[in-house]
Every structure is written in C-alpha cells, then in structure tokens.
C-alpha cells in the first residue's frame, strides 16, 4: 500500500509518542522490576542481555527467555503487549533475515526442496539467531518499559558516564517531543493546503523544506535555552542531584541478576 510521505512519517511520530506513553504507564505499576533501584535494574538487565549474547546453546537461550517471561509477569507487564510490540516484530524482521540461512549454511543436509537443501546447521543457526534476538530485545524492552526516563539517566550516571553526556541526553529526550509536535503541525498545515497527490520530487522538496524550517527553529531554540540556563545560574558545570539509596532488597536483586547471568554464561559456553 502506497502511503504518501506525510502520512507515513506522521504515523511514525504517532507510534513513537504512544511508545513513550506506554513506558510511563508500565513504569508506574508496582511490580518486581519497578521495586528495584534503577541502577540495579539497568545493570542487571544489561548483564542478562550479555548472558544471552554469550550463550552458545539454544537450550540456555531458551532458559533465559523463560526467565524474561517470568520477570515480565512479576513486573506486571502485559504479555499481550510484549507479544505484539516485541515478539511479532522481531519475528517478522529477524525471521525474514534468518530464513535464507536454512538453505545456505554449509553442513549436514536434513531435507531437500528441489535443488536446494536444508542443513541441520542452517536450522540451528536460524533458530539460535531468532531466539537470541527475541530474548535480548525482551530484556531491553523490559528495562525500557519499567524504568522512567529520568531513572535511566540516573542509572547511566551511576555507570560513570560523564555528566555532560547525561545532561545532553536528558535535554535531547525532552526536546524530541517538542520537535515531533512542531513537525506534525507543519505537516498538518501543509497537508491542508495541498490538493491532490504530490509527485515524489515534490514530496522530497517538501521534506527538505520542512526539515530546513525545523533545523532553523531547532538552532534558535537551543540558543534561547542556553540563555534560560544562564539566567538560572548555569556557569558551564552541570550539577546533578543524586538521591538513590540501595536497600537490602536492591542488593538481593543485584545478586540474583548476577547469579542468573553467571549460570547462563557458564552453562552456555
């Protein structure tokens, strides 16, 4: 189905915003992940993603997938949400990529379709890839869904990222929504003034013009923001308020993550 540039891009915007809203909702639930210190959450889930990446055996990866499911349920994340937003999407994308591997990977043939043969190695590699990606993306999505953005930032700070980087990430995130809104408004006004379907080069021209206006607005916005920052005392040094304390529960959680990851890596080597 051919969609115009405007409609397709606007859809992309809408999807991004709904994604953000969904994150905020889930982050406010009272579940397992939400109860842990955001630093523990970030480090722990990242460790599990690494464990997924380290494992060489399908059984271990499958076990990690089961763990991801369990964490999701305990964190009050709706399985249907995960299924539609993650599993199906990954399956479609990675499935398409992995499918030819069944045929072209050298190894022991197990079946034949006409002149092409399916090899055992091909099946295993496709299965391993799909399962690995599914599990890793599930862990990442759990982190994203259950952690409000500000907590992500503070967790990154705890990982010793320089505070200028954190400040920039915070500000970027905040202004993404403003820019998306501004662009949508520009598109709406152009759409209402456009009669009929535009040719591709007209659409490209409009895209460039909209991007250009957005760029100019962005730069002047950034200048104004700098003035506003100075007005409130900014002298070039970023100051951050840190207010996270680790409790016994958090240490336990960290330990559990470490154990799970360690066992998985050990068993999957």
């Amino acid at each position: 189905m051919k969609r115009g540039f405007l409609e397709a891009t606007t859809l992309g915007f809408a999807r991004a915003v709904t994604r953000a809203m969904l994150s905020e909702q889930t982050a406010r639930q009272r579940g397992l992940l939400q109860s842990l210190d955001p630093r523990v959450r970030a480090v722990g889930l990242f460790m599990l993603v690494l464990a997924v990446t380290f494992s060489r055996k399908i059984t271990v990866v499958a076990g990690l997938f089961a763990l991801a499911l369990a964490i999701a349920v305990l964190s009050r994340v709706r399985i249907s949400t995960l299924a539609t937003r993650v599993w199906l999407v990954v399956l479609a994308f990675t499935g398409v990529i992995a499918l030819p591997a069944i045929f072209v990977t050298p190894g022991n043939p197990v079946a034949a379709l006409g002149s092409v043969t399916i090899t055992e190695q091909g099946l295993r590699t496709a299965a391993l890839l799909i399962l690995r990606v599914e599990t890793a993306v599930t862990f990442t999505t759990l982190l994203v869904l259950c952690t409000p953005w500000t907590h992500v930032l503070k967790a990154l700070r705890a990982l010793r990222l320089p505070k200028e980087a954190i400040a920039m990430m915070a500000m970027t995130h905040r202004y993404v929504f403003l820019l998306v809104e501004t662009t949508s408004q520009m598109f709406e006004s152009r759409r209402s003034r456009t009669v009929g379907i535009l040719r591709p080069e007209q659409q490209r021209h409009m895209a460039a013009r909209t991007a250009g206006v957005l760029l100019s607005k962005s730069v002047s916005l950034s200048n104004e923001v700098y003035l506003a920052m100075q007005s409130r005392g900014f002298r070039g040094e970023v100051q951050i308020l840190s207010d996270f304390h680790m409790t016994m529960w958090d240490y336990c959680g960290l330990l559990m993550f470490l154990l799970a990851g360690g066992i998985a890596v050990w068993m999957g080597r």
């Binding site: 500000t150 905040r174 923001v225 506003a228 007005s231 409130r232 100051q239 308020l241």
Partner: protein, 268 residues
C-alpha cells in the same frame, strides 16, 4: 535612594538591525513597571539586558550600582548573587522548561547556585506548593498544559527568592482563566522590596500589574507615566502601534476611532 537598575544611552543591535537606540531609564527597588510596545519594539531585548543575558553595544547598564557587563558576570562573586536576585521568565515556556521533570526544573536554579541538598529539596517543595503544581512533580514538561507550564516556569524562578522578577509577556498564549491566575500571582507576590518589570502588549492587564508604564517605540522610551495617564493618551498608543483604529460606517457617515480591547467601554 539609588536606582536599582540604571540604563544610560544604551544601544543594542540584533543581527545588524538596531533594537534599542540611545535608551536611558531608571528603575527603583520595589517598583512595579510595565513595558509596553508593539512586537519588535525592543521589550524582550530590554529585559534580557536587565538580566545580563546580552550586553549593550553602546552605553551602560548597571544593577545596584554595579556594571552589568560580560567581564563582570564572568566573576563568580558577582554572578552568583546576581543570578539569585534577578529572575527572568521567558515568553516561550518551552525554552524555560528544559529539564526532564517538573521537580528537576524547579531544582535547577538552586543546584546551579550550589545550595546544599536538603535546602534544595525544601525550597523546591515550597515553590511547587506556592504555585499549586506539587501534584505535577514527576511530570515531564511535554505533558503539561499551557497554564501549567507557565506556573512551573514561575516556580522555577521564585524558588531562589529573587528580589527582581522580569516577566516577558506572561499572559500571552494563555486561556482567560490561566491569565487571571498569573495576574493574581504577580499581584500577590510583591513584598516590600520586590521589583516586578513586566513586558506586555496586553494593555488591559497593565493597570493591575503596574504602577508605572513605559512605552517603547522605535528603540527608545516614548513615554513614561501612570497607567491612567498612558492609557488615555490615544495618539501615543496609536503611534506606538499598541492599538488599532477601526473604521465603520453608520449610514453614510464614516467613523474611526482607536480601539483597545479592554473591559472598559468605548464610545462612538
């Protein structure tokens, strides 16, 4: 008593276009001043000059007897107290709300001034309560309404208990209810030594928020006086492009008169 702000023969160019020319004025502590002028008359520029965000190409600007120059503001010993004492609320709240949450926003200024953590937390809570936005504490700015944004912006500047409030079009783009809320806030906020300088083109609010009105036109002060004096000088207002003239006809007769959209009646 020496003036709080003093400008002498100030000129300022914006990208080669003169915004202010040979401007001189004084403001005393505790005054409530309204700067009126059409868009482009230099109101915003003047406020930014007063807040030490931009600097005059000619002439002098001083605050409390001290010069407001880039060099002087590079000195922490002058800059920190100045930033605490003088606060500016920008016209576009999105410019002012650049932090991830409302709480972070209000905490920004105290943190920059390097207040201790407990003080920051206490002051932020106080400011949020004062502006009635405590329930929005964890909200990101892109999920606030126009009126809420304005109140958070106000909270973010009054948290440091400034002596001078500079307001750039505080009621523009607000719905009527939020407008009156903001005007009430400004009205109630004044204390004995609080100075409020408001730039606005909404003449109907001027009487509520100011004791003195400065009319800006072509980069300079065209008039200065009480709200009553200035608002009744229709020729001046027309010249400064603050009001528009209507023409309508009754039968064969054409009437034209300056028109202020205000609560007061106008006669034919």
């Amino acid at each position: 008593m020496p003036p709080l702000f003093e400008l002498r023969d100030v000129s300022f160019d914006y990208d080669g276009v003169p915004a202010l020319r040979g401007l001189s004025l004084q403001m005393m502590a505790g005054e409530r001043v309204a700067l009126v002028g059409a868009n482009g008359s230099g109101k915003s520029t003047l406020l930014r000059l007063l807040d030490g965000l931009c600097f005059a190409s000619r002439g002098t600007v001083s605050f409390d007897g001290q010069p407001l120059t880039a060099e002087h503001l590079a000195d922490d010993r002058f800059a920190f107290p100045f930033r605490r004492r003088v606060a500016l609320v920008f016209q576009n709240p999105d410019v002012q709300l650049f932090n991830p949450t409302v709480f972070d926003e209000v905490a920004f200024a105290p943190l920059q001034l390097q207040w201790p953590k407990e003080t920051v937390l206490a002051k932020v809570t106080e400011a949020l309560d004062l502006m009635g936005v405590a329930h929005l504490r964890e909200r990101p700015p892109y999920r606030l309404s126009g009126g809420e944004k304005k109140r958070v912006a106000l909270a973010s500047v009054i948290v440091t208990d400034p002596e001078v409030l500079l307001l750039d079009e505080p009621t523009a783009t607000l719905d009527p209810r939020s407008q009156s809320q903001v005007i009430d806030l400004i009205h109630e906020w004044k204390g004995s030594s609080k100075t409020v300088i408001t730039a606005t083109h909404q003449l109907e609010t001027v009487a509520d928020i100011a004791d003195r009105v400065l009319v800006l036109e072509t980069g300079g002060v065209a008039a200065s006086g009480t709200p009553q004096e200035v608002l009744s000088n229709h020729d001046l207002l027309l010249r400064a492009n603050l009001v528009h003239a209507h023409q309508h006809s009754h039968g064969g007769v054409v009437h034209s008169h300056p028109h202020i959209h205000s609560h007061s009646e106008h006669e034919h």
